[in-house]
Symmetry: C2
Subunit: 427 residues, 2 copies
């Protein structure tokens, strides 16, 4: 296997190199800066974003006016849109990051060795993070806040459709950096819309420690294929709820409705319901009525259709589809083992839930299901940094390496070992 | 950047695919197997290796006889060689792994959320590990023991010069797997010597979760370039000892001699000594005599040479060289800041030590030096899994992602979140 790389020359390459060099230098300073300085920046950023509200909304209006020309869907335009309420939410999110404890310097483990050496493993920043996202201007602030709070310099590359909004926001973040004594290049924005800039930066593993793509699957695949540094990936969630024969059926109904309906467009929403054959004749008509009332289309296997005539036939592809919509695939399984087998075959390792009254079924499910989050008797929607107690999150990793599940401040750090002695040598 | 991949067809590809499929299936079983079964395997492996001693030594003799034909250096032949003493050491190492606590199921963090959900982050295996190493038959046993103890299936690919030894050892490991009820494919050996097999396996990110190359830099670079899955890299160690003007000079002498001489061919041995100008006239002649008595060649800058006439002139390349030999580069620095600057410019982020009597110098050094291990008043040789209290190690990672420094059992694991409730839904 050979790698044909983008040529390492030209003005765009030099521009990217400068960006990465500046980020590297800033990251060296950030690594030892005091937590109070980072928190001061977050407070000042909130103030500057508030003072710049009119300009930011005007810039956003320019982006919104141009959006149809870019062919953005109405959902994408909604994600691009800022307003007073969304800017308030953003300020609250930054306030939330400020309130989190500083992860840097945390002692992960420590011991005193028999020879008297004091050994500590302590948390340190990763260094430089390259964050690539789509046209969601609020992510510009979220990502900058999380990366800098965890002691990292960040290079932001947002979608071109949000460029005016991002520039207006970015200018305020930089004002706050300068004012609070943080390195100005702690946060940088890639302002060129040339797509080759991303390729250049993804090749600079000597300067950038981590790439985080946030957006659709094609963006993530492109970044994973091109990056020469580690990538924190957040692929799709084909999440399952399995209702065991011992389940409390009204609890099961609440859980599947919440898992599907509460926010259908997100990765921890349920996409497939598996129902044990023994309770299907009672449970399926009941849950179908509740789902129908919530506007959910049910695509079922033959047994499900025989029990609920309004169910649409499921195609084989439906078992592997992340609908991100008010659609639910439903299958009746013969046993607990068949449910696990279906999940292993079709699941994406994101979030799976069981509703059960049996201790051993719960235990088996927790042990055997290989997903970033396994839930017993609760909604799949709890696989979320805030809900699990991590505070804000930068994404939900579906990888097993470095970080799995919701990624908060700790997941943006590395560690180093500190060894203190009084003259010890090895014999 | 485009990737031209090895064609995904042919008998070798199919053979590799079968290997990876078998490993995947075994890893699913291993993920939930009890710790006592893994430990039983380790005990049975020791017994089978002892019973097979004559066959293993005979196979090793065949490899040793063929070694000159492969052009192996005498150091490489020494690493290839097995004897009674080395087999005893190997059995003791496996016994050491058996004695370590099972990392799987460890609760990394937990909380009870305000809504009553019980949240736990627990340790789980990574899955399948592809371990690529050079011609050191003892590594076959070490790697298998660490991977399986941490719940992972492992595919071993050793150097072709050790193939007979590896086959003889591997047969005994499999006997022990079958006898102790572990999946037979928990450990597999790539028996073909076709180098394309490595390329095929490095492309199977859907089946293999981690690649670990152990050997020289060219092996690591090849694996890092070709692997489509994460790689745990162990690059070189250009390690520094800085002797501050406040150092106890006899302590400093003991530490630099130990760091350089105790085992010069390993990655945590010191390669450069930095000495503060204020103490150089006293310290350098003293330490040069001690190093000379230990057979160390000193390559120094002009100031060092003016103080110790026997010092050889250092070339610019010497500051960046991992000698792995009885050679030490020596530089006199004007200040603590100059020492840090030299380390930042030339260090490889592996291990750096300071010898100092000053509290603030120690504190600054620990905070500002960006290496996997920072040592105060002790030998660089302590950056080692056993010495830091991790037990056995599979390597010392110079990456920041996932694992940094010595990698023991925990570093071969991932985590998952477990959420237990009684009907909670999101509002």
């Amino acid at each position: 296997m050979t790698v044909a790389s983008t040529p390492h020359e030209g003005p765009l390459y030099s521009e990217c190199r400068t960006l990465a060099d500046n980020a590297r230098a800033a990251s060296r300073q950030l690594a030892t800066i005091r937590g109070e300085a980072k928190d001061r920046w977050l407070v000042r950023a909130i103030a500057h974003l508030a003072a710049g509200r009119d300009e930011i909304l005007a810039a956003n209006a320019r982006d919104l006016a141009a959006a149809p020309g870019y062919g953005l869907s109405s959902a994408a335009i909604d994600r691009l849109k800022l307003n007073e309420k969304r800017l308030d939410d953003l300020a609250n999110a930054v306030q939330g990051v400020r309130a989190l404890p500083d992860p840097i310097g945390e002692v992960v483990q420590s011991s005193r060795r028999p020879n008297g050496l004091e050994v500590q493993q302590v948390r340190v920043p990763l260094g430089v993070i390259f964050f690539i996202y789509e046209s969601r201007p609020n992510v510009t602030v979220d990502a900058a806040a999380l990366c800098v709070k965890s002691g990292n310099a960040v290079i932001l590359r947002g979608g071109k459709e949000a460029l005016h909004s991002n520039r207006a926001i970015y200018a305020r973040l930089v004002d706050a950096l300068i004012e609070s004594g943080l390195p100005q290049h702690a946060v940088q924005l890639v302002e060129t819309t040339d797509r080759d800039a991303v390729g250049h930066l993804l090749g600079m593993a000597d300067r950038i420690d981590l790439a985080i793509p946030r957006g659709g699957e094609s963006l993530i695949r492109r970044v994973a294929a091109e990056a020469r540094m580690p990538v924190m990936k957040h692929f799709h969630g084909n999440c399952h709820v399995y209702v065991d024969d011992s389940a409390n059926l009204s609890m099961a109904e609440r859980i599947i409705v919440n898992s599907k309906v509460q926010r259908p467009g997100v990765c921890n929403a349920a996409e497939t319901l598996l129902v044990h054959r023994a309770i299907a004749p009672t449970f399926l008509p009941q849950v179908a009525a509740a789902l129908d009332a919530a506007g959910v289309e049910i695509r079922g296997d033959e047994v499900a259709r025989s029990l609920v005539p309004s169910v649409v036939p499921a195609t084989p592809a439906d078992w592997d589809t992340e609908f991100l919509d008010l659609i639910l695939a439903v299958r009746v399984v013969d046993s607990f083992e068949d449910a696990l087998d279906h999940i292993e075959r079709h699941g994406s390792g994101h979030t799976e839930a069981i509703v059960t009254g049996q201790f051993l079924a719960a235990r088996e499910f927790m042990n055997r299901v290989d997903s970033s989050c396994v839930v017993v008797n609760a909604s799949t929607r709890f696989n979320d940094g805030g809900e699990l107690g991590l505070g804000a999150e930068i994404g939900i990793s579906t990888d097993k390496f470095h970080a799995r599940g919701p990624c908060g401040l700790r997941e943006l750090t590395s560690t180093k070992w500190i060894v203190q002695g009084d003259g010890q040598i090895r014999g």
